[in-house]
Amino acid sequence: MDALLLRSLQGYVRDTFGHPAWTAICRRADLNFETFEPMLRYESGMADRVASHAAYTLGRSVDTIWEDMGTYLVTNPGHEGVRRLLRFGGSSFADFLHSLEEMPGRARLAMPDLDLPEFTLNQVSEDCFEIRCRSPIGGMKRVLVGMLTAMADDYGALCLIDGDTDGLIKVRILDSAHATGRRFDLTLPERSE
């Protein structure tokens, strides 16, 4: 999981702050390389370590960086695959929230050795949810907050998402059809290669 987060962080920083910023972060983190490979393994704890150097270099809090990166993953056209895989979770934002618990299982179908975080969803009332996220990576919860915010937009739902409560993310859906969501076709058009 560290590998995926590091690769995403690399993409986010380069696209948002430019290549020199990423180079500076890698140097500060004492890495002798700048390119993370999503399919390789890195020592655990590395994602949090590099993120703390990113926070210092960019002058932002680690939480903000992880959150923005989560949003970037869903909204950046270069990562359309991420958005699509998440949209398979359900036909509404509430459906999608319910699918979070299944996410590690789904991911394992494609990549058996991917140690995705575990999510537990508790539906408090019709429109209130509490999500607990268990991961060895400290930034994981913030990444999820960023992704949830972007996914709510994607479904056209108006939500309050609060990630500040210890260990919990609280989601309140104010209007599930606030705006027109982005279009989602179950299959991609056939490639004409």
Binding site: M39, R106, A107, A110, M111
Partner: protein, 333 residues
């Protein structure tokens, strides 16, 4: 466990059928359609479905030689495969049953392996599948798999690039940019193994030690870089110029075995190397001696023999007075 269900009648109703089996087909005793699920209706769109005969809508692909739905359900328990007659690109599979106490036949269909094509063809959505259907999981898996494969392909390409770069570095002398000893050995081995004709020049710099001793290593490096540039200019793309030791160079020239031509090239290299160079205001005066051998003068040579022979020719050149090129022929390595 099932309790005693003998005589139990279950009335699911058409609305229930629609919800539980969005791809069902209910036929009367004559094989005409009474009702079809909404997703199946999308497959059959553009046709009059209600009242149509089964065999006018579908062709049975398996089991073989079955046309009518009555034959189909007689093979109860067997699953069957169909194709819609008006669109044969999307296959269907299913199971059929004669409903107890009636002459009605109920078929339940699914897309099977043609799911992705069907979703694309009929622009199906989540709502077109029963909640129990694994269609969404299959679509998800197909897409996740494609994403993983794509990542792996990218990783392979990047690793291949890094491997080529590392290989190139492993064969290059970093100071002069020429090939190194290992590269020269590989080229010689390849040429010897294929019994190709080639010429080899062994160049040793004269007075290099004096430059190093009096002006320092930086001056020595400067001279070596210069010689590297001269050699690159003097050889063809298919030749291999390598630095194989401190001030020792080897030039391998595939296809060149003409004594006159080799002698001319060697003389030109010596002349260029002997031109005055200046390092930070101090002149560095060097020259070079070259020993030349040709594959045609050696019987079945290997790389080591070629280098021994070229070394002997170099020794002869040094012996003849510096700044000379000597071709040693008629002597078998």
């Amino acid at each position: 466990m099932m309790g005693d269900t003998t005589g139990l009648q279950i009335n699911i109703g058409v609305a229930g059928l629609v919800r539980f089996m969005p791809m069902h087909l209910l036929l009367d005793g004559g094989g005409r359609v009474i009702s079809a699920g909404p997703t199946l209706m999308r497959v059959l769109a553009g046709q009059e479905v209600t009242g149509a005969r089964f065999e006018d809508l579908f062709e049975v692909r398996a089991p073989g030689s079955v046309v009518l739905v009555t034959d189909l359900v007689q093979r109860a328990g067997q699953r069957f495969r169909l194709v819609p007659l008006h669109n044969r690109r999307v296959g269907l599979r299913g199971l059929g049953l004669r409903l107890a106490g009636t002459d009605m036949v109920l078929l339940n269909l699914s897309f099977g392996i043609d799911l992705i094509a069907a979703v694309r063809e009929y622009a199906l959505t989540d709502a077109d599948f029963a909640a129990t259907d694994l269609a969404m999981e299959m679509l998800y898996l197909a897409e996740a798999n494609a994403a993983v494969t794509n990542e792996l392909r990218g990783l392979n390409l990047r690793l291949e690039g890094a491997r080529m770069l590392a290989e190139e570095e492993a064969l290059t002398d970093p100071l002069t940019g020429l090939r190194n000893r290992r590269a020269a050995d590989l080229v010689l081995e390849r040429l010897c193994a294929s019994r190709a004709a080639f010429g080899v020049m062994h160049l040793d710099l004269d007075y290099f030690k004096a430059v190093n001793d009096t002006l320092g290593h930086a001056a020595g490096d400067f001279v070596l870089e210069n010689v590297g540039r001269i050699l690159r200019e003097q050889v063809r793309a298919e030749d291999c110029a390598a630095r194989i030791g401190g001030d020792e160079f080897v030039i391998i020239l595939p296809g060149r075995t003409d004594a006159q031509v080799l002698q001319t090239i060697a003389t030109r290299i010596i002349a260029r190397v002997s031109e005055p160079m200046e390092f930070e205001g101090s002149p560095c005066k060097i020259s070079g001696s070259i020993g030349i051998v040709r594959s045609s003068d050696l019987t079945a040579p290997d790389a080591a023999q070629v280098l021994v022979a070229s070394d002997r020719a170099l020794y002869a050149a040094k012996h003849a007075g510096r700044g000379q090129a000597v071709l040693l022929s008629g002597e078998c390595g």
